[in-house]
Symmetry: C2
Subunit: 349 residues, 2 copies
């Protein structure tokens, strides 16, 4: 099969490798229908040291189940499935709490445990907990918009949703979303779904913030840093934002977040922090009783109702995809996202 | 009147100064019935540079209203009142949100705005928002246990309660309280009130942890650091604590907190952080979707029902007071708390 490997910053290659095989009785082999490139894939694309050994890539896909281990009971060969970006048994104590990304038998794709999903075939561990059937749709007849929205449930939309959920977005609240990438725009759409009264989107790329407005943003703030903070404070009558959804992961975004959060408000992060230490003392969070929450999205916890919303046409999160590449063109897809020519790149097979 | 001043680390003096007078139409003058010394008063007692000018001290009291400004409507002369450790109008947007410590017209005692409360008389700004009448008790006939419990509502018990409230303590949850000072013990009592299933108290002073057990602690962990973390993990079947209430404020306590919090769990801080930066990235909070919350307790938000609970005999938070000193003996009270000979010192007049 063809699969994607990164050999260092800026060096992505498609190679032909052996097809994956069942290794554990809980495994499934899935033929990938659509995969995609994630904003988080750009971190190694910027910084990975050159290596002779390629790093398998990708963690988002929808596909058709081809083969099952002997212990798999809930998933069937031929099922059209969405795969959350992390695998999990969905039965352990943490899964039952709705924190499937901390599953005691779980893990991540493109690691030593299992290969990446920017590939024609995937071995999915813990298949019963990690694959959710799309009942009522057929991969071979579904239109591209439906495939895109289902694919977005693998990570990007439900990561935005996780931010909003952990931020306790609800009717009457003012929400500020920091970041106009695909996750930030997804957080706008999710906040709208959860009834936010006002949604301020902080971003500088008009083509992206325009989609943000279509997703439900009521205000766009292009300024950053102190100017951006001042603008949001002005928009909120000097009181700040009840909820701040931080979809970037860099320190300036975090600093903006505590600058604009209202006393008693919530900062919810889903951008993977590119820092370990940050201000949390009296001058940032503590003094105004601000809450800091968020983390890797337990997509599995939200997947069934989200699939239903997509099938019902209630949400169209797949609109974040603005470019399609065939598997052989994946390196060009990385380059386009890195150059911000593309918001989110879908991979076809 | 007699009042308490600090002139430097270890140097507390009682001085006779002019009685306070009404300065604003919203002020009240209150004769202090009981005041006390706070754990947070020990920070300057350790580190304050020597000064020729004394720093007014104290922020906790119960008393009798003596005089009122012309705009005060809710409080009456002769009322027996509890004063939250911060003053507030209790009507602004943040007060209505229940974050009275961020009141736009609020502030703190023993600052440039108004003097400290370890004194015979106090000027209380924003009296209508800052004094709550104890209906159904008389200061002159109340027994010492009742006075102690009412005094504890000025700060220490409701700070512990705030920790538990922000940590969303409820039935079925495992709570770990870090710190066996008066706030930590109050957090134990509040967690019990809120229905926690299991309450692990981390502290090394047997006389204090014994009171913690009477307040509802089910387990005591005397170990600290990595050993303390290992002990709590062992007690929680390797899963960690749903909720961690951090009542210390030093970095080792914070490190313990993220070491023992369960994936998806909550760390609620009420110990004033003696640091500004701290770990919050993938390896501490983000990776396990832990939430960090807490801040200065909006005592006013919780005061009426807590007064009722005390009057009904449902809670006895005043048991944290284990020493009484007259106003002239306040310096000895500081020394006793600093030497850990006393848990919490009450000041009589």
């Amino acid at each position: 099969m063809k699969a994607t490997f990164m050999y260092g910053a800026g060096d992505v290659r498609i190679e032909t490798v052996a097809d994956p095989v069942i290794q554990q009785p809980t495994d499934a082999i899935v033929r990938v229908v659509r995969a995609c490139i994630c904003g988080s894939d750009l971190h190694p694309y910027h910084s990975m040291p050159a290596s002779e050994r390629g790093q398998s890539m990708g963690h988002e896909m929808i596909g058709i189940v081809e083969e099952l281990g002997s212990a798999v009971a809930l998933v069937k060969v031929g099922d059209f499935v969405v795969a959350p970006f992390a695998f999990q048994d969905n039965t352990c104590a943490f899964c039952r709490d709705g924190v499937q990304t901390s599953c005691v038998h779980g893990g991540f794709y493109a690691t030593a445990e299992t290969a990446g999903l920017q590939a024609e075939l995937a071995r999915v561990p813990q298949a019963d907990g990690s694959l959710v059937k799309v009942a009522g749709a057929d991969a071979s007849t579904a239109d591209e918009a439906l495939l895109a929205s289902l694919l977005s449930l693998s990570d990007v939309y439900l990561t935005g949703y996780h931010a909003a959920h952990m931020g306790r977005v609800e009717a009457g609240k003012t929400v500020t979303v920091i970041g106009d990438g695909a996750v930030g725009l997804s957080a706008v759409l999710a906040s709208r779904q959860l009834g936010a009264e006002r949604i301020i989107l902080m971003g500088r790329h008009t083509s992206r913030t325009d989609l943000g407005i279509e997703f439900g943003a009521t205000d766009v703030v292009a300024e950053r840093g102190e100017e951006g903070i001042a603008k949001v404070m002005q928009l909120t009558n000097g009181e700040g934002s009840h909820i701040v959804l931080e979809a970037v992961g860099h320190m300036p975004a975090y600093e903006q977040a505590y600058g604009i959060v209202r006393p008693g408000g919530i900062i919810s992060r889903v951008g993977v922090p590119q820092y370990e230490e940050a201000p949390v003392g009296f001058g940032s969070l503590f003094g105004k009783n601000a809450t800091l929450t968020g983390g890797p999205a337990p997509v599995r916890a939200y997947l069934e109702p989200a699939i239903q919303q997509v099938l019902n046409g209630e949400i169209d999160p797949g609109r974040v995809f603005d470019r399609r590449v065939a598997i052989d063109e994946v390196p060009a897809g990385y380059a386009a996202m890195d150059a911000r020519e593309a918001l989110k790149v879908m991979v076809t097979f």
